[in-house]
């Protein structure tokens, strides 16, 4: 699988990452090479193989329904790029 300029633009948009226009072709080449490496998977016979999402065959541990957190807004927002009256600010969202 080989990716071209416009494929990379589409993927970068989906990932919300601005790429330097001049670098897009280099990314296309690198990503195509990586996909070339990945193509080795095609030959593997996986017809009767279960997908494996986790390395351990464990069940999920659950927690009890208890409120354990207290308000740390001030500390958490001290490193925020833009806040006002306790709200995080972003450019206007239009719906």
């Amino acid at each position: 699988m080989s990716l071209d300029h416009s494929d990379v633009e589409k993927i970068a948009h989906l990932a919300r990452m601005a790429l330097d226009e001049s670098q897009i072709d280099a990314y296309a080449k690198d990503l195509s090479n990586i996909l070339g490496l990945v193509e080795a998977l095609e030959v593997a016979d996986t017809d009767h193989v279960e997908p494996m999402a986790h390395p351990l065959h464990m069940a999920q541990r659950l927690r009890q329904d208890q409120v354990t957190e207290t308000d740390h807004r001030e500390e958490n927002q001290s490193i925020a790029p833009s806040v006002e009256t306790g709200l995080y600010l972003v450019p206007q969202v239009i719906e």
Binding site: L3, D7, V8, I11, A12, H13, L14, A15, R16, M17, A18, L19, D20, Q23, Y27, D30, L31, N33, I34, L35, G36, L37, V38, E39, A40, L41, E42, A44, T46, V49, E50, P51, M52, A53, H54, P55, L56, M58, Q60, R61, L62, R63, H72, E75, N76, S78, I79, A80, P81, S82, Y88, V90, P91, Q92, V93
Partner: protein, 484 residues
């Protein structure tokens, strides 16, 4: 003092031969003098280190004898440390002062370890040479024109250069073992779930695992003892009892069954590295072990599988870096999309971008089955290889890396060549198994690592097997020239 191990320094501290404050001063001075040659640290915290050392001295006076009490260590800059910058090697988090401590950080502090600062690393742990860091490449103390390996390259270089006694690392595809091998130290990646991932900035959640980077297996046992154990904040951490890792270090290896995967000794392996590894295996024969050839037939699928699974997970894990609540935000975004795209475009370096894009692509509509689902299945095949192997052998041995440390910049233009560096380490992450790398005979003055892979939760066995070798050899005590 810096030539000693945790075990030796701990004995000295407890005997009152020197204080933790003196020890900490000594390492801080070494950092001041030597660090500029290595670029192994992102942040040094002398004040809080000396305070912690003082507290440790007080505790020891009142009889506390935890093996890590007063021992100066470094934290890989992927572990959140409250009130201290936690950059993950990225411009994205260059301004991130964590409001909380990772569980690993907390446990090491509770054990009395003294943190000297935060170690440099590949950006978001993505790299095998420590050249993707926003803070510049780390240099290998054995030859500063060469890479230390990655992604825990800062930790490995600093421990090898004796800027700290030990360090923490994380390993997603070899990021503890590979730099440990290239820098001539001991590095252990525990079983997935053995050490809590809470507060460790995620790269690939189903592969990431924290572990110790030390001079000796004995020290690794002491570090792991403090780090390991179930954590209610990480529901993927294993609720398995933590054995006393030091207790079994001296166990006999008589009758130990060692498997050598023929796939790990084939094409691509530097013959000199191979010879060095084989001579180490000879030592094990002398110690009474039984050595046999085995096969891990799906080894060839490991790197391709990894480069679907890890990027897919990272593409999602790194979506939280959006310039809204913390981290880098671009100047004057003109709308929401601009805020996202420029913050992320400017905050992430090229390797991170590549992996996010590969992962985004592999999960996207129409490609999921061909890439992600397929890789989950090949992951199962790889895991099955090990399951079958461990029916026949107790441990698996082979080289940690195909070559010794390569030159800075040598592989930066070609990501795929760089990825193949992790060819022997990646499969254990996919399977979730523990692995350790320890120094064996160097090649042309450059360290070589022997990798030992164990069954699930067999860390005690790995440490025992590694320790017995280190009782017979001096490779782990060698010091790079200029850092004595």
């Amino acid at each position: 003092m810096h030539t000693k191990t945790i075990a030796e320094l701990g004995a000295g501290l407890r005997a009152g031969e020197f204080s933790s404050v003196e020890l900490t001063h000594h390492f801080l001075q070494r950092i001041e003098r030597l660090e500029e040659n290595l670029n192994s640290l992102v942040t040094v915290t002398p004040e809080s280190a000396l305070m912690a050392a003082e507290a440790a001295d007080q505790q020891m006076k009142s009889g506390h004898a935890d093996p890590l009490m007063g021992i100066p260590i470094l934290q890989k800059d992927i572990f959140c440390t409250r009130g201290v910058k936690t950059s993950c090697g990225s411009r994205m988090l260059d301004n991130f002062i964590s409001p909380y401590d990772a569980t690993v950080t907390e446990r090491l502090m509770q054990a009395g370890a003294v943190s000297l600062g935060k170690a440099n690393m590949d950006e978001f742990a993505m790299g095998s040479s420590n050249e993707t860091s926003y803070y510049g490449p780390v240099k290998n103390p054995w030859d500063t024109a060469r890479v230390p390996g990655g992604s825990s390259g800062g930790s490995a270089a600093a421990v090898a250069a004796r800027l700290a006694v030990a360090a923490t690392g994380t390993d997603t595809g070899g990021s503890i073992r590979q730099p440990a091998a290239l820098c001539g130290i001991t590095g252990l990646k525990p079983t997935y779930g053995r050490v809590s991932r809470f507060g460790m900035i995620a790269f690939a959640s189903s592969l990431d695992q924290a572990g110790p980077m030390t001079h000796s297996a004995e020290d690794a046992a002491l570090m792991l003892q403090a780090m390991a154990g179930f954590d209610p904040k990480d529901s993927t951490s294993a609720d398995e009892p933590v054995p006393d890792y030091s207790a079994s270090l001296g166990d006999s290896l008589q009758g130990l069954r060692i498997g050598l995967p023929k796939e790990y000794f084939g094409e691509g392996l530097d013959p000199a590295v191979s010879a060095s590894v084989e001579s180490a295996i000879e030592v094990y024969r002398q110690l009474g072990a039984e050595v046999m050839e085995i096969s891990l037939p799906n080894t060839g699928l490991a790197v391709p599988t990894y480069y679907v699974v890890a990027p897919a997970e990272c593409s999602s894990n790194l979506s939280r870096f959006d310039g809204v609540r913390f981290g880098y935000r671009c100047e004057n975004p003109h709308d929401l999309e601009d805020l996202y795209k420029r913050s992320r475009g400017e905050g992430f370096g090229p390797e991170v971008k590549r992996r996010i894009m590969i992962g985004t692509y592999a999960l996207s509509a129409g490609y999921y089955d061909a890439y992600y689902l397929k890789a989950q299945k090949t992951r199962h095949l790889i895991s099955d290889d090990f399951r079958k192997a461990f029916e026949k052998v107790d441990v698996i041995m082979g080289p940690t890396t195909p070559t010794t440390a390569f030159g800075l910049g040598e592989k930066m233009d070609d990501p795929v060549t760089m990825y193949l560096n992790d060819i022997y380490t990646i499969a254990t992450n996919l399977a979730g198994l523990p692995g350790i790398s320890l120094p064996v005979a160097p090649v042309n003055g450059l360290p070589v690592g022997l990798q030992i892979i164990g069954n699930y939760f067999a860390e005690a066995k790995l440490l025992n097997v590694a320790h017995r070798f280190q009782r017979e050899s001096e490779w782990h005590r060698q010091m790079p020239v200029g850092f004595e």
